[in-house]
């Protein structure tokens, strides 16, 4: 395979990764890392660097549309970034202290549990109409959005901000430690702990993952993990895919998004467990 073949095929695969990522609020690393390592036999360190690029591209590409359409909860997203960026910076300096295999096993189990819990919440879909959460009330984190599939305005209240913050801190840590899985913990934090509607959770996760990834991107760049011949096709492809995907989210039913997310979560969980065991 010549460099041109590589750039073209990786670019096309990245379009699919961007579409999927923009729908479920993940960075597309779930597609990019295995494709690069298993299909193209690229070094895992470079694949993780490409995953960081893919996360930022998905985030900026999709969030441009989601913010404008009010699908993103801007205030909640910015507030929770306090925890994710702090986690990302601490994580970058814990890498050498903690055994990676143990971390993969641990988060494999955590994500498997999140997948089950997210699936079980499919029936409790009605958003909250009152909240006694002090932080959410003081900072006015509640919101509303227009659901294209339901053809109505949906307003919702936010709760569980403390648990949400804790889960977001862990999400930032994981993103920096393992280079993958940051969005995989953000969506459950908002969906399960804070009771945001599913589409708002994925759109807000999408908005946040770019900032989390940017907080660890400097380290990856300095370590020489961001290879231009990989990052160019990944970024271009993902940006195209995310722009297309962001037009689709509104039209899909919430339970469809939830199901796609659960399936992706199970795949990431298995990938992590496999890395932990072997």
């Amino acid at each position: 395979m010549t460099p041109l073949d590589f750039v073209i095929s990786l670019g096309l695969i990245s379009v699919a990764a961007g579409m999927l990522g923009s729908l479920v609020g993940l960075g597309g690393g779930v597609v990019i890392v295995p494709v690069l390592t298993l299909l193209f036999h690229v070094d895992i360190r470079l694949a993780i660097g490409a995953s960081i690029v893919s996360v930022i591209a998905t985030s900026s590409g999709a969030a441009a549309a989601y913010v404008r359409e009010k699908m993103t909860n801007l205030r909640a997203g910015m507030f929770l970034e306090v925890a994710t960026t702090t986690g990302a910076v601490t994580g970058a300096y814990l890498t050498t202290l903690l055994p990676t295999r143990f971390l993969f096993l641990l988060f494999g189990v955590v994500l498997a549990y999140s997948a089950v819990a997210t699936f079980q919440r499919r029936r409790a879909a009605a958003p909250l109409s009152v909240s006694s959460d002090r932080i959410a009330n003081v900072l006015e984190l509640h919101g509303e959005y227009f659901d294209e599939a339901e053809q109505k305005e949906i307003s919702y209240k936010v709760t569980g901000t403390k648990l949400g913050l804790f889960m977001m801190y862990v999400a930032g840590l994981v993103s920096a430690l393992l280079g993958i899985g940051s969005g995989a913990l953000k969506v459950p934090a908002m969906d399960l702990a804070m009771h945001l509607p599913m589409k708002v959770s994925t759109a807000t996760s999408n908005f946040m993952i770019g900032v989390t990834a940017a907080a660890s991107a400097g380290v990856y760049f300095a370590r020489g993990q961001i290879d231009p011949i990989i990052s160019a096709p990944v970024a271009i492809g993902v940006l195209i895919g995310a722009t297309v995907g962001s037009k689709v989210l509104g039209k899909l039913k919430s339970h469809v998004i939830r199901l796609i997310f659960v399936v992706v979560l199970i795949v990431i969980s298995l990938e992590m467990l496999q890395k932990g065991v072997f």
Partner: protein, 146 residues
Amino acid sequence: MRLTRRPPETEEQAKVMNEKIRMTEITISLVLRIGVALSVAIFIVGLVVMFAHHPAYAKLSGSLSFHSLTSPSSQFPHSFSGLWNSLAKGQGRGIIVLGTMVLIITPVLRVAVAIVSFSIEKDPAMTIVTIYVFAVLILSFFLAGA
């Protein structure tokens, strides 16, 4: 001192508030759009320059494998001085790394814009929140020591 946004008292104030919030959303969306468009343009120029300099790369079939460019020993800029050197030589890989920089900076700029927007909305709590996030991001780049 009042930490939260003062609730609007009249309908007129509520309208002005909503317009400010809408402005914030549109500005943030615009920053992201510009960052995305600019980085894609730079990536495309970088790829074109790289393939133009290395005609052997640009063949659809042949013996040259991309693995020579994606091995841990591959040469590409991963520091600011390396990036300037590469750009000065007009290398495609340097241009692509520049595009990656624009892509990485975009979310950081979006946070900076939010600081301004929240202070215009007279919302001290959210302004502090965004200043903190911005500071951590800047710190992360210094800690990386690129």
